[in-house]
C-alpha cells in the first residue's frame, strides 16, 4: 500500500504544480506594459489615427490580461507582451508622423525660398 502511495502523491503533486504554479502571475510585466501605454498617450499617439488605434488595442489587451492573471498566467503573459508591443508601436507611429510633418514643412519652406 505504502509502496505506491508515495509515487502517486508525487505524480499528482507534480501535475498540480505544473498546471498552477509553473507560470507566476506577471504583475510586474503588466505594470511595465501600462507604463508603455502611458508613454504612448503622452507621446502624442491619441492625435495620430494609426497610433490611436494601436493604443486602444494595447489598452484592451491590458484589460484582458488583468482579468486572466491568477487563472491563466501564461495567456495573460502573452497578452501583456502584445499590449506592450502595441503601445510601443503606437509611440513609434506618433513619432514617425511628427517627423513626416517636419520633413513636409522643411520641403515646403525650401520650395517657397526656391520660388523667390
Amino acid at each position: 500500500m505504502k509502496s505506491y502511495i508515495l509515487p502517486v502523491t508525487l505524480a499528482v503533486g507534480g501535475f498540480v504544480a505544473a498546471c498552477t504554479s509553473n507560470v507566476p502571475p506577471p504583475n510586474d510585466q503588466w505594470s511595465a506594459a501600462q507604463v508603455a501605454v502611458g508613454r504612448a498617450q503622452a507621446g502624442g499617439a491619441p492625435a495620430v489615427p494609426d497610433a490611436k488605434l494601436h493604443l486602444q488595442l494595447a489598452q484592451e489587451d491590458l484589460q484582458k490580461a488583468k482579468a486572466l492573471i491568477g487563472s491563466d498566467n501564461r495567456r495573460a503573459g502573452t497578452l501583456i507582451v502584445l499590449a506592450s508591443t502595441e503601445a510601443q508601436l503606437a509611440s513609434t507611429l506618433a513619432q514617425a508622423a511628427q517627423a513626416g510633418d517636419e520633413a513636409q514643412q522643411a520641403r515646403e519652406s525650401l520650395q517657397k525660398r526656391g520660388a523667390q
Partner: protein, 306 residues
C-alpha cells in the same frame, strides 16, 4: 495602416474559427498537429517581416528588424509546439507588430533625414545668397572707390584750372601795369585799349616810327607777346586836311605799328590794322591840345577767344 486593423480582426476571427475547427481536427487525428495550416495572423506576420527585411527598415533600423525576426521565430516555435493555443495567436500578432514597428521607425528616421537635408539645402542657399551679396557689395565698393578717385582727379584738375586762371589774371594785371607806365590804358566794350600819342610815334605827316616809339612798342610787344589775344591797331588823325589824305595816313601809321609789333614776336594772324582817319575823336579838334590828343594810335587788345 488599415492593413494592421485587418490583421487584428482576422486574428480574432481566426481564434473563433479555430475553436470551431478544433473539434473536426481532433476527430481526424490528434497526432497530426504538424498538418495545421498556419493562421492568417502568422502569415501576415511573415509577410510583414519580409517587407521590413527587404525595405527601408533593414537599412535604417536593423536592430528593430532583428527584434521582429526574434518575435517571428518565437511565434513560429509556438505554432509548431502549440498551434491551437490562444497564446500562439498573441505571439503571431506580436511578431506582426514588431515588423510594423521596425518599418514605422525607419519611416520616421527617413523623414528626419529628409528634413535635415532640406534644412541643409536651405542653409546652403542662404550661404550662396550671402556670397552673392558680398560679391555685389565688393563691386559697389570698387565702383565707389573709382568714383571717388575720379572726383579727386576732377577736383585737382579744377583746382589747377583755377590756379591757372588766377596766374593769368595776375599776369594780365602785371602786363597792364607795365603798359600803363608808358601809355594810357583803359577798358571799353572792345577790350583793353592802349592809346599812344601820334607825336610820340611819328613825325608830322610821316608813318615811319621814331626811335623812341620803337622802345615803347618793344615794351608793349614783350608784354603782349605770348598772350595769344587778338589785337587790332587803329590809326586816328585830327580833322585838319583832306579826309582821303588823313585816311591814308592813319592806315599807314596803323600798319607801321602792326608790322613793328609782328617783327617783335606778336603772331601776325592775331594782329590787324585799320585806318580810321578823323573818326571817333577823343578831344575837341578846335584846340591845339585837343587835336594833339586826337592824333593817336590805339591798340585794342580783345579778350582771349580760345
Amino acid at each position: 495602416m488599415s492593413r494592421s486593423i485587418g490583421i487584428r480582426t482576422s486574428a480574432t476571427s481566426v481564434k473563433l474559427g479555430l475553436f470551431g475547427s478544433l473539434v473536426p481536427l481532433l476527430l481526424v487525428g490528434v497526432g497530426c498537429a504538424s498538418q495545421h495550416m498556419p493562421p492568417p495572423a502568422l502569415t501576415e506576420a511573415r509577410e510583414e517581416f519580409l517587407r521590413a527585411k527587404n525595405g527601408l527598415a533593414m537599412q535604417l533600423d536593423p536592430t528593430d528588424v532583428h527584434e521582429a525576426d526574434l518575435a517571428l521565430q518565437k511565434a513560429e516555435q509556438a505554432f509548431r509546439d502549440e498551434p491551437d493555443d490562444p497564446s500562439t495567436m498573441d505571439l503571431a500578432v506580436v511578431a506582426d507588430r514588431r515588423a510594423l514597428l521596425a518599418e514605422s521607425q525607419a519611416a520616421g528616421l527617413h523623414s528626419q533625414q529628409e528634413a535635415l537635408a532640406a534644412k541643409q539645402q536651405g542653409a546652403t542657399m542662404t550661404a550662396e545668397q550671402l556670397q552673392n551679396a558680398r560679391g555685389q557689395l565688393g563691386q559697389t565698393q570698387q565702383a565707389l572707390g573709382q568714383t571717388q578717385m575720379q572726383l579727386q582727379e576732377q577736383q585737382a584738375a579744377s583746382a589747377a584750372q583755377a590756379q591757372q586762371l588766377a596766374d593769368m589774371q595776375v599776369k594780365l594785371k602785371d602786363a597792364r601795369d607795365t603798359i600803363a607806365k608808358i601809355a594810357a590804358v583803359k577798358d571799353d566794350d572792345r577790350g583793353m585799349v592802349i592809346t599812344l600819342q601820334g607825336e610820340v610815334l611819328f613825325k608830322t605827316a610821316k608813318w615811319d616810327l621814331k626811335a623812341g616809339a620803337m622802345a615803347k612798342l618793344d615794351q608793349i610787344a614783350s608784354v603782349l607777346k605770348g598772350k595769344e589775344q587778338p589785337i587790332v591797331v587803329y590809326g586816328f588823325t585830327d580833322n585838319v586836311g583832306a579826309i582821303d589824305m588823313n585816311m591814308d595816313l592813319s592806315q599807314k601809321r596803323a600798319t607801321a605799328v602792326r608790322d613793328y609789333l609782328v617783327s617783335k614776336g606778336i603772331p601776325q594772324d592775331l594782329i590787324g590794322s585799320e585806318g580810321k582817319g578823323p573818326a571817333d575823336p577823343i578831344s575837341d579838334n578846335n584846340s591845339i591840345e585837343g587835336r594833339a590828343s586826337n592824333r593817336r594810335v590805339e591798340l585794342v587788345v580783345k579778350p582771349k577767344t580760345r
